[in-house]
């Protein structure tokens, strides 16, 4: 239960961190809040030869308004700060609503918003939420930087679309459109524990009350957090109703996922939870969309 040896680097700028990453090569691992990496190292499931600690890089710790009315969150911003930030509460209320589900206050005091995404945990709530909201990730390497849409960021379990010589530096959340609503629902065995299934919904209505945009993103039912493609598509262009939402939830549970059984629960139970949580989450999101400016 003690980590193996590693070389420790604590760069103080992004440029310096990228230099170190290039120098240490594939054995290196970036250390953000460490709330997932350090347990893995304590169990010796992770054995990095070098750790590049980002905690001394102040330029990665910020929350600021984006030009489009959204919000930009630096990768090393602590989850607690995100949870209580007024800009985030306004631009992305689902992030605030979901943060209390992320482990416990002591973990969120240290864990970072960038780390939540870069860890690419298929059970993680916030990546599902930010995908539903239409987030983009800013990834920087020595050659330059690039934007990655949330829909293309999760390559596999714990495998984000970040090259070994790159850093995730920012998560950009767009503003909530007019007549939009969002909601996150989850079932976990106990408060703060990993969710058995989570459902994040984001919907937008047009002036006639029809759904013009919908994203339902699920946790813990695949190798990554994933967009329930069929469920999301069948909502668009329709007037929301209990029947429509039930049909979408059914599609999510039967067509969009292929969950596995594990020590936590069976695949069958995950489908059941997907059906129930998708319905609850979409229902609340549509109610909120109808209430907003409606």
């Amino acid at each position: 239960m003690k980590p193996a040896s590693f070389d420790y680097y604590a760069p103080t700028t992004i440029a310096e961190a990228l230099d170190v990453l290039a120098e240490v090569g594939y054995g290196g691992k970036v250390l953000a809040g460490g709330q997932s990496l350090v347990p893995a190292m304590n169990f010796r499931m992770a054995l990095p030869s070098a750790l590049i600690d980002l905690n001394s890089i102040p330029e990665l710790d910020y929350i600021k308004p984006a030009g489009d009315g959204g919000v930009l969150i630096g990768a090393m911003t602590r989850d607690t700060r995100v949870e209580f930030d007024p800009l985030v509460a306004k631009a992305a209320p689902m992030v605030k609503e979901t943060m209390p589900h992320v482990a416990h206050p002591q973990i969120r005091n240290r864990g970072t918003f960038g780390g939540l995404h870069a860890h690419a945990d298929p059970t993680a709530q916030i990546p599902a939420v930010t995908w539903a909201l239409g987030a983009r990730m800013l990834v920087r390497g020595k050659e330059g930087e690039r934007w990655v849409d949330a829909s293309e960021f999760y390559m596999g379990p714990f495998a984000p679309a970040i090259e070994p010589n790159e850093l995730l530096v920012e998560v950009a959340l767009p503003p909530m459109p007019e007549k939009s609503g969002s909601s996150f629902k989850q079932v976990a065995r106990q408060h703060g524990a990993q969710g058995l299934v989570g459902a994040a919904s984001m919907v937008v209505l047009d002036d006639t009350g029809r759904c013009k945009e919908a994203r339902l993103v699920l946790t813990s039912v695949g190798e990554t957090v994933l967009l329930a493609v069929n469920a999301s598509q069948m909502l668009v262009g329709e007037v929301p109703s209990a029947e429509l939402i039930a049909a979408a939830a059914e599609a999510a549970a039967t067509q969009d996922i292929d969950p596995g059984s594990d020590i936590h629960c069976t695949a069958e139970y995950r489908r059941h939870l997907t059906r129930v949580l998708s319905r609850q989450s979409l229902t609340l999101a549509f109610e909120r969309a109808a209430g907003r400016g409606g």
Binding site: P3, D7, A10, V38, D53, P105, Q106
Partner: protein
């Protein structure tokens, strides 16, 4: 073996400097290098919460931080709360309300509520449950812990000076 690194930090208001391997966990640094064994080591993977300390004033798991990461930072452990002769109101309350059964989880429980009680003069029981939800008590003495935190809040709201009424010899 990896090269040792120099680490300087303030713990309970006192400066310390040591040379350690980077892989040394902060909780092991506090206990083994500094001899402050009030902070306990439990699960060593961030679940149980008994190693909770204040890192620049905020409760965190000291088993999920490497000692060099505390370089230049301000650490508070349970030893910094009060003294034998002058207990902190939180310590008094845990004593009086039987908030410590076997005592293993107690340092983490107390450190988790320090900033919470500083900001919340009259917390509800639900708020108290939320703030200690990240700390496990395997005696399952939770109700007494909730009572102790509520009592601590009352003591602190009254601005009561910590008073030692029971002789240590008893």
């Amino acid at each position: 073996m990896t090269e040792k690194v120099k680490v300087k930090m303030t713990v309970n208001g006192r400066g310390y400097e040591r040379e350690v391997e980077p892989r040394m966990l902060l909780v092991d640094f506090i206990r083994n290098e500094l001899g402050l064994t009030g902070t306990h080591v439990g699960c060593e993977h961030g679940v149980c919460g008994t190693c909770t300390i204040l890192f620049d004033g905020q409760p965190v798991r000291s088993c999920l931080i490497f000692a060099p990461q505390a370089n230049g930072h301000d650490i508070q452990t349970v030893e910094g709360l009060g003294t034998i002769d002058k207990l902190h109101p939180i310590q008094e309350a845990f004593w009086e309300a039987h908030g410590a059964q076997c005592g293993f989880c107690t340092p983490g429980m107390m450190m988790s509520v320090v900033p919470f009680l500083a900001e919340n003069k009259h917390p509800t029981d639900d708020e108290i449950r939320e703030v200690v939800s990240g700390n496990l008590c395997r005696c399952t003495g939770y109700q007494h812990i909730i009572n102790a935190v509520r009592l601590a809040a009352e003591k602190m709201a009254e601005g009561e000076q910590p008073v030692q009424e029971v002789s240590r010899e008893n």
